[in-house]
Subunit: 760 residues, 2 copies
Amino acid sequence: MVNEEEMNGSGNLMDFLDEPLPDVGTYEDFHTIDWLREKSRDTDRHRKITSKSKESLFEFIKGLLDAWSGWVVMLLIGLLAGTLAGVIDLAVDWMTDLKEGICLSAFWYSHEQCCWRSSETPFEDRYKCPQWQKWSELMVGQPEGASAYILNYFLYILWALTFAFLAVSLVRVFAPYACGSGIPEIKTILSGFIIRGYLGKWTLLIKTVTLVLVVSSGLSLGKEGPLVHVACCCGNLFCSLFSKYSKNEGKRREVLSAAAAAGVSVAFGAPIGGVLFSLEEVSYYFPLKTLWRSFFAALVAAFTLRSINPFGNSRLVLFYVEYHTPWYMAELFPFILLGVFGGLWGTLFIRCNIAWCRRRKTTRLGKYPVLEVIAVTAITAIIAYPNPYTRRSTSELISELFNDCGALESSQLCDYINDPNMTRTVDDIPDRPAGPGVYTAMWQLALALIFKIIITIFTFGMKIPSGLFIPSMAVGAIAGRMVGIGVEQLAYHNHDWIIFSSWCRPGADCVTPGLYAMVGAAACLGGVTRMTVSLVVIMFELTGGLEYIVPLMAAAVTSKWVADAFGKEGIYEAHIHLNGYPFLDVKDEFTHRTLATDVMRPRRGEPPLSVLTQDSMTVEDIETLIKETDYNGFPVVVSKDSERLIGFAQRRELILAIKNARKRQDGVVSNSILYFTEDQPELPTNSPHPLKLRRILNLSPFTVTDHTPMETVVDIFRKLGLRQCLVTRSGRLLGIITKKDVLRHMAQMANQDPESIMFN
Amino acid sequence: MVNEEEMNGSGNLMDFLDEPLPDVGTYEDFHTIDWLREKSRDTDRHRKITSKSKESLFEFIKGLLDAWSGWVVMLLIGLLAGTLAGVIDLAVDWMTDLKEGICLSAFWYSHEQCCWRSSETPFEDRYKCPQWQKWSELMVGQPEGASAYILNYFLYILWALTFAFLAVSLVRVFAPYACGSGIPEIKTILSGFIIRGYLGKWTLLIKTVTLVLVVSSGLSLGKEGPLVHVACCCGNLFCSLFSKYSKNEGKRREVLSAAAAAGVSVAFGAPIGGVLFSLEEVSYYFPLKTLWRSFFAALVAAFTLRSINPFGNSRLVLFYVEYHTPWYMAELFPFILLGVFGGLWGTLFIRCNIAWCRRRKTTRLGKYPVLEVIAVTAITAIIAYPNPYTRRSTSELISELFNDCGALESSQLCDYINDPNMTRTVDDIPDRPAGPGVYTAMWQLALALIFKIIITIFTFGMKIPSGLFIPSMAVGAIAGRMVGIGVEQLAYHNHDWIIFSSWCRPGADCVTPGLYAMVGAAACLGGVTRMTVSLVVIMFELTGGLEYIVPLMAAAVTSKWVADAFGKEGIYEAHIHLNGYPFLDVKDEFTHRTLATDVMRPRRGEPPLSVLTQDSMTVEDIETLIKETDYNGFPVVVSKDSERLIGFAQRRELILAIKNARKRQDGVVSNSILYFTEDQPELPTNSPHPLKLRRILNLSPFTVTDHTPMETVVDIFRKLGLRQCLVTRSGRLLGIITKKDVLRHMAQMANQDPESIMFN
């Protein structure tokens, strides 16, 4: 980078440091940003534009454009995230079907598209048409039979392995950051951490492609979490178009929060739920301006997706449901039971998954990621194919489980014995006894449930993109549907029991098993992620009616309470801790009685803090200090004796300033005095030219006294987004507390007293 | 209050101050709370309960109950707020109809109930039945005719005046705080201000009763804002049941935030919108825990209201609408025009209303509140009666304007000329030419619009409960419906114009005027209140479909931008400023380049700060200082010469400590030395017994350096909720900044540079 000063010649050498230093303000990888500083840098920029805009019309328009750039970025994010989600949906549809067969009329059609386009077949036969051929039909000419079954089975596994191998190889070679759901990392990034490349172009590209591959391979994972990551990559991409966002890490995070909202919005077709998810679950700093912009981005994304119309039904939502009967108070009991199940499943899943991931990290297992993916895919495919409920894609399964059995429904789950005398209306079908199909479905579902529970634990955390929403919802939906069918049959056969007689007369449609599936899905998702409001709102947007909000809420609350009783951490927080990211959770409350003096460094017995003095250290002294330590910055005191705090100097800025001075300022040598005061200190006559560095001195470092309770310190770190804080007593510097010290202390205290959790 | 120490006798006198002082922690009226302190007090309480709960089962259960009390309070608030809203709705219905007539079969039935219960009349005739008699019918036996009209007119005015007089008298005599909408004050209270009695039982009772009276009197006001106030009163009432909330002003505000959400939830039947309204518009400190609880309270309130079923249609929402046609891109142009109208109306309303309110405050006008209400009511009633669109209640008017003209609709607004050859289906009616009824309606609506615009300016701010949502929405809905009918007729008569030909074929149902009314209502509400996300979500919950969210959002965004261009303040902020409440808005950004040293007191030339020294002042010195100043507290320094800061002592605690010491500690006299150090200072041999007050010294006062930019200081005040902050340089005390200093400075800077608004 060429400094303007360099081109103009030396000029007034002493003043050139008053120019902004090149490169100041960027952070190093895996470092924490200083929110207060980013904010004040943005205000400076803003002030400059405002004052310039009065000078000419051109500057005025430039100012207006700058003010509007936020909305432009939101629009672009919405458009790209919606488009990518649509493309992913279409590609997944096609590739999932490719595992079973191919469309002869046009190989790029999925099964449904193939038959739908071939002729105007009735809705029930939308999966039957001559153009669509299974592999066995195409290769050996046999659509049915044992050998055809084995051939199809084999090709199903082969395709699954191919997709999975491609995916894991792409991730390993091109973008290692594309693996996982991405939400833990995005939470950490949004809280002010720098992970270079995590939201880069390569990650975007590879994550999008591999997401299609892994979802199509039939692994027990979903695309919802990774879609949030993809949307955030889009956000980061568009940030680089505007210096307002690309040069300010704080402003950039506002855009990323909105992008996360857009991601959930397209994942579920739930814009309001997306905004609340970003607010409740992902974001750290969420000013009201961001709320409004997030909403805009989420809406644009949802409408873009709808105009692509990947589900072919012009519905926005992933699982559209419509129930015909209300729920009754007595049903709250099974709903709450489902909530308990969801909480238990959440706890079980988090514990087992974390244990397995820790094992992967610490043992030789972690050295063979490709082999691991291949093995899990093979097991999944081998076990999944024979069971119709695991063979199909998980979202189709959830969709079927959520559905109410209308009169036209041909699914096995709706195989009830009809009363021949009954006049069938389309919607209002009374409860009926279960037929053989339902009983078959019940044990197949039971097997699917066990399989899903076990395989998901091993799948989440492999080196491929993998979301948790869909598998969690699938577990809950299966359990819920089974409970629902159970209650329905119990009520049908025992109308006279007291608990049923008050609300379920014979011949009435009392129980909707689909609703139970939905409640179960909400409970399991809540148990794993500990979402609350956003979960209920997403579910509310799926059903589109306030009618079922009470069952959903009862299940979500129960599930959260049950899960919280076993441990406060959701899966994302657990992964953040597992990976050791410096994340200061807004939700944890710190309630211990420690003081700043207990946490600050230097501890008792440790060497004293590395400090600079305001006017008595030489350039060499400081260079040695910089070489020997790796602190981000150094407090500046009056003198080593008095230790009165003057300010704080950033390491980066110090290095740059000294480098520049040595290069260009005459007379600045190793034993030049370096001073931070306003006036040049008195020096012996023959001493070399001193170096003034007041410009880089932060005169308002954040301080607390040593008696400040740690709960206040934690609050300050959280709310102001500090990097470090100096501890003083009556102006004398005693020590320093960094964000990592705070996190370490919080972890220590939490381990000492795990019981206090119950009362939060 | 009897101190335990007092009962036990003197004991170790020197130690008794280690016990918490009686009465410490309560704030005085019109003072600001210290959020950090409230929070740490709650943590202390919480710690005590946690440690006690390990001692016995009883304490354990007590601890659990304490942890659950938050949910209990929410449940109670939801139930009471829902019930009150239901009762208000029923009472308003009855009393509004009482102005025109009475039900002979049972006088407590409203018009609709009277006819609905009398016989199974068809829906269209629900307002026609013999049991319901107009006053003229009852008194002179004439239902129609000139004299009957005059008699009815006269009685209408008389009832309106009676209701209004009753309302204003009740407010004046029993609860002056019950007037207005209450939202500006609640915003201020939630930001940490104390207004005693504002949320008291009397206010609750009187506001509920007078709200019914003023709404029934036909004044141009709504019940939505006051319902938020009523719900907050409920919240405050239930806080007093639990010491956790009643004794902690910070925790109390969490409950009040949730109560505000419940208030909006019942006002519109929009629980999610209510929570977002509380988050976006009302609340100051809104942790995630509160979000979840608010949602619970809002849901309980909504369901309580629904089980009361005041609208008789088992709908939750105030205005339920169902449209049969989608909207087209070309319609965005009139929608954006409506947004511009909404923004202009918002600006006009705020400016005129504030000017009028200022006039009321400063001139003799303010001395006759009863007369003012009577006059405005008389004018309203006289002008409103002849016009059918202003005679009925405003919510009925809005409801009619929002409605789509179905085939069964008998309203004047749906008087279109039908094609006799057309086969009429119920829902899908093509655009038709307007009949004479529509033309009559158009000019009546135009008159109603002008009347509403003018009268609302004078109504809002009188000494009666008055909400703004409904009148604003009415203005928007009238304008919107008129534009909608205009566009519809334009499209019908000019199918061949380019702008219509692409989407509006002859015989199709292209334009839904009801949708325009809804968009207009959203635009006007947005212009007045500057709500964004919550506004769109409330409207979304009213319509229950994502379909119309884009028109609503386009209008809301345009309206906010247009209105913001003329001034950043919404009506609530404007009233907060008018009343001079110390409200530090989270939304304003402070972008000026001033430093803490420019704002702190003492200014140049002012006498030095009143400080205490740590060990050299006598009791008398301090008593004199307390008498001569009215500061909330005093910084404590080492000595007057060195001015090194040690801590901060609260005025209240000082007074109490000295009073207690004088009463009970032997030897503490006026010239006793008062010291804050750990060890007793060395004193001359014959000096009186000194008084140790280290216990009341806050050893961790919040400090910033004099070089700290004010934008950081403002941020700290906002985010940490400070009362004051000390300014130091290298530990030497330079001055103090209080919340009021910050507010004053912000106001000064905003006045200096009003242009900077445009770029925010």
